[in-house]
């Protein structure tokens, strides 16, 4: 159970779980701010882009493990 | 034969189920548009499951162990087989058959055009025939070289035992027959008459056959995406030890660049066709002006695929030709690295030049200048390909076999195609030449020159490897010359009629162009006849030709270092690579292949 497994990278099970929740919380906060900005600002196109990019990066890195592409999943 | 029957039966059942669902849930009739869509989707799934996906995959999804169906001899080619060599051969034969069919259609078109009035067809039928010729030939050019030689050769050339995803590879191939059947069956439900470009609003307003066109071409696009994905993954991950990026045979690079394109931009074609389907069936208004849509949207989305598609067709052709030129000149490929950079930049720049097809469309004026500049920029990397070709030929020891002869012809034709392309890239001249027979002639020089001639050259070059027998050299040369000469006589006059007021996609034209058109039609018929020689040569030689040695051309690349045809897993023992693939005449160059236990097999 404590072994480092290739599937999700280093850290214990609990570490991984905590990391996931932190990511999700960040995403939720970003979404709410994004919504607040969009509702209150006229023509928010430029302002919304950073939110999209940040959320996309969080998902790709922490949820989809894009960095494993390089190593093939072995850490 | 059993998998084919099984596939056909479950395909028919699938079609019935789909059409039935559509009939029961909507107001569509049993052969209505929505029924055609659902019927095709379910029919395709049924066919795929019947042909072998159930055994290869489906069993796994319900927790059973997958079954592999083994077969020997010719039966291998009629079933779901994951061997990349079998799939390559399946593609080659399928595409040659489609090519010959579409060629017959072209002969019918030239017969109609031999004189100004409506002779053979009504204008309506002509449009349908023309659309059929267009889309079938596009399919041949897209999947001919990349599907056939890409699958057959890429793993062999990089020293792999198969593709990265053999089952997906087989899936990609077996999507092709239903596509062909759907396209050919479209006349039963009213045919499609909007050309292969399928511009709306015409393609939203015309007969039900357009729906079959759309779903079939989307399926074909999916097949070509899967094929591209496979080749990219294979080249990145499956190279043998020592096969570094700078030692890849040039065809592999060409297939790689084309596959990146086919993997990405093909989705735009699918998207544009889906939008048409939505407009027709779901009542959306992407292209319908009354609801606020615009037909120009289609042109952007469509050409974002269809211009790069030209490079999907031509890049592998360039690879085949450079490969042949180096081996038959017995010289290293000139400026190898520059060619690689050119392939990648052709793919890159080629994806951002689409709007030069739209100079007359009424798009925003400030787009016209940049797109002209980008389009002309493509001529620079393309020029490097010609430099590599003539630079390799220069002072070589030219062994004039059929493949080299066809490579010469390829250079000549693609040169004309490229130069006339500049006239179409130029804003001013394009205003005049757009949608005329000048474009028709240019396009045929580019695609027949760039892709089909390479397909023929490659077919002869690798024929001994695939079949284990030699083709007839004399017949091959007669065919090549015949095809080439009458191709010029057919299409050079068409440049002229284009300049003189003949627009494309017409069954009738002004009387003063009758003479030249009649000449072109006669030449086209004679050109068409040359394929009798081609087919006879290949069929006869495959059965009765002299047995081919492992390496009849004494070439250096890996595929020639194994027996003809290659053993089941390509290499008797895991290969590793030493020298470069083109080190002809380099003193002390190690052989390309280092360790194969029994090279000749």
């Amino acid at each position: 159970m404590t072994a480092v497994t290739p599937a999700t990278g280093p850290g214990t099970y609990n570490d991984r779980v905590r990391l996931g929740w932190i990511t999700a919380a960040l995403l939720a906060v970003l979404t709410l701010i994004e919504y607040a900005v969009a509702i209150n600002v006229e023509n928010p196109l430029i302002l919304l882009l950073p939110f999209v990019l940040a959320k996309g990066a969080l998902i790709m890195d922490f949820f989809m493990h894009i960095r494993k592409l390089k190593t093939g999943g072995d850490h | 034969m059993w998998p084919l029957i099984r596939g056909t039966l479950s395909g028919i059942v699938g079609y019935m189920v789909g059409a039935l669902i559509a009939t029961l849930t909507t107001t569509s009739t049993f052969s209505g548009e929505f029924a055609l869509v659902l019927g095709f989707v379910f029919g395709l799934l049924g066919w795929l499951f019947g042909i072998g996906m159930w055994n290869a995959w489906g069993r796994e999804w319900v927790g059973l162990t997958p079954k592999t169906e083994k077969a020997e001899g010719w039966r291998r080619y009629l079933r779901f087989n994951t061997d990349h060599k079998v799939i390559g051969a399946q593609y080659l034969v399928t595409m040659l058959i489609v090519f010959l069919l579409a060629g017959l259609v072209a002969m019918a078109m030239r017969a109609e055009l031999a004189s100004p009035g409506q002779n053979l067809f009504t204008a309506d039928v002509y449009n349908k025939v023309m659309s059929m010729h267009g889309i079938l030939m596009i399919a041949v050019a897209v999947a001919g070289i990349l599907g056939a030689f890409g699958n057959y050769l890429v793993p062999l050339m990089i020293g792999a035992d198969d593709m990265a995803f053999p089952r997906i590879n087989a899936l990609g191939y077996w999507m092709v027959p239903p596509v062909a059947i759907a396209l050919l069956a479209a006349p039963l439900v009213g045919s499609f008459d909007a050309g292969w470009t399928a511009y709306p609003p015409l393609s939203v307003l015309n007969g039900d056959g357009q729906v079959l066109f759309n779903v079939a071409v989307i399926a074909f696009g999916l097949s070509s995406i899967l094929g591209g994905l496979n080749i990219v993954a294979t080249v990145i991950t499956m190279r043998a030890p020592g096969m570094t990026w700078s030692k890849l045979p040039i065809f592999v690079w060409a297939a790689f660049a084309a596959s990146i394109l086919s993997l990405t931009v093909t989705q735009f074609f699918a998207a544009s066709l889906i939008m048409i389907l939505l407009d027709r069936i779901a009542g959306t208004t992407w292209f319908g002006a009354p609801g606020g849509g615009t037909a120009l949207l289609y042109e952007h989305v469509f050409w974002f695929y269809s211009h790069p598609a030209v490079y999907i067709m031509v890049l592998p052709g360039m690879g085949v030709i450079l490969e042949i030129i180096s081996h038959f000149s017995r010289k290293p490929l000139f400026a190898y690295k520059a060619v690689v950079v050119s392939f990648l930049s052709i793919a890159g720049i080629g994806s951002v030049v689409w709007a030069h097809h739209m100079f007359t469309s009424g798009m925003a004026q400030n787009l016209e200048g940049p797109f002209m500049a980008l389009t002309e920029a493509v001529s620079i990397p393309t020029g490097v390909i010609f430099l590599a070709a003539v630079g390799t030929l220069w002072r070589g020891k030219l062994w004039f076999q059929t493949p080299l002869l066809l490579a010469f012809f390829w250079i000549f034709q693609f040169l004309i195609g490229g130069i006339t392309g500049v006239f179409l890239a130029d804003f001013v001249t394009d205003l005049s030449l757009h949608d005329t027979y000048f474009v028709v002639a240019h396009f045929h020089y580019t695609i027949v020159g760039g892709s089909i001639f390479a397909l023929m050259a490659g077919t002869f070059y690798w024929f001994p490897k695939v079949t284990g027998r030699m083709y007839n050299e004399k017949l091959g040369k007669i065919f090549a010359t015949w095809f080439f000469v009458f191709f010029q006589l057919t299409f050079i006059p068409l440049f002229w009629v284009g300049l003189n007021g003949m627009n494309r996609r017409v069954a009738t034209y002004q009387d003063n162009l009758g003479g030249v058109n009649r000449f072109a039609s006669m030449m086209a018929m004679i050109m068409g006849l040359s394929f009798v020689l081609f087919v006879v040569n290949l069929l006869w030689s495959a059965k009765f030709g002299p047995v081919a040695p492992a390496n009849p051309w004494n070439a250096r690349t890996l595929e020639w270092q194994v027996s003809s045809p290659p053993p089941e897993h390509n290499f008797p023992s895991p290969p590793s690579v030493d020298g470069g693939p083109y080190d002809y005449g380099v003193v002390g160059a190690p052989t390309h292949l280092r360790e194969v236990a029994d090279p000749v097999g």
Binding site: - | L202, L296, L393
Partner: protein, 247 residues
């Protein structure tokens, strides 16, 4: 080796001269009745003249190689010429210069010439529909291609406001004798400017006609209309005539 280069160069020069003689003496265009048509033809000719040496360079090497560098066997290796980079550089310089050159002229120069500037002397409306053209003259009279013809005044800058019926399909408004064309798109008005410089009729040359250039279905090939370019006075008379007839 030197001999090969000299011979091939000679062949290239000879072929180029022959090519230039051919393209400069053979007028392949139909009559050009408008200012824009001349611009297009000049651009075409310039591109052809520039294309000749490029074409003959490759063809000269192909021909020379085919006769001079034959070898019967396939076993003997050629000299392992490794590109030093100089040839490649020279080649790139030449192609970039050529591409840049044609981008400026006829590219951008031609583009600004053909667009022209300033307003128009006459505004004529064009509506495409399956499968006919409707011309709206400045005096408010509509003429369709079923019954009438398109009459234009010479030496006037004419603005065509082109559209397609809504809903209908895309057409393209093209007069081959004027060369340039513009699409008729449903729901949009596209503009094309033409200055006819010579009079002419369909009877004299079939290229003096309107032709639909974008596939629009069954009647696409026959979607044409006779054109007559006339003197200003005659144009005015024509306008009066159609007004009297039933406008």
């Amino acid at each position: 080796m030197k001999k090969d280069i000299v011979n091939a160069t000679l062949l290239w020069i000879v072929l180029s001269i022959l090519g230039w003689i051919l393209v400069l003496n053979w007028n392949i265009f139909p009559p050009a009745l408008a200012r824009e048509a001349r611009i297009v033809d000049d651009a075409f000719n310039l591109l052809t003249v520039l294309a000749v040496p490029v074409f003959t360079f490759v063809v000269a090497i192909l021909i020379y190689a085919a006769f001079r560098f034959r070898s019967p066997g396939g076993l003997e290796d050629g000299p392992p010429i490794q590109d030093t980079g100089r040839i490649l550089t020279a080649w790139l310089v030449v192609t970039i210069a050529l591409a840049g050159g044609i981008l400026i002229n006829p590219g951008f120069v031609g583009m600004s010439e053909v667009r022209g500037e300033g307003g128009a002397d006459v505004v004529i409306g064009v509506t495409g529909q399956r499968w006919s053209w409707t011309i709206s003259y400045p005096n408010g009279v509509d003429v369709t291609s079923y019954t009438g013809e398109l009459v234009l005044p010479v030496d006037q800058r004419i603005q065509f406001d082109i559209t397609s019926l809504d809903p209908d399909v895309i057409h393209s408004f093209w007069i081959p004798a004027f060369r340039i064309k513009k699409d008729a798109v449903p729901g949009r008005i596209t503009q094309m400017f033409i200055t006819p410089t010579e009079t002419g009729t369909f009877a004299e040359d079939p290229n003096v006609r309107v032709q639909c250039a974008e596939l629009c279905g069954q009647g696409h090939a026959q979607m044409s209309m006779k054109v007559r370019v006339v003197e200003q006075a005659e144009f005015d008379a024509y306008l009066d005539e159609i007004l009297a007839e039933g406008g």
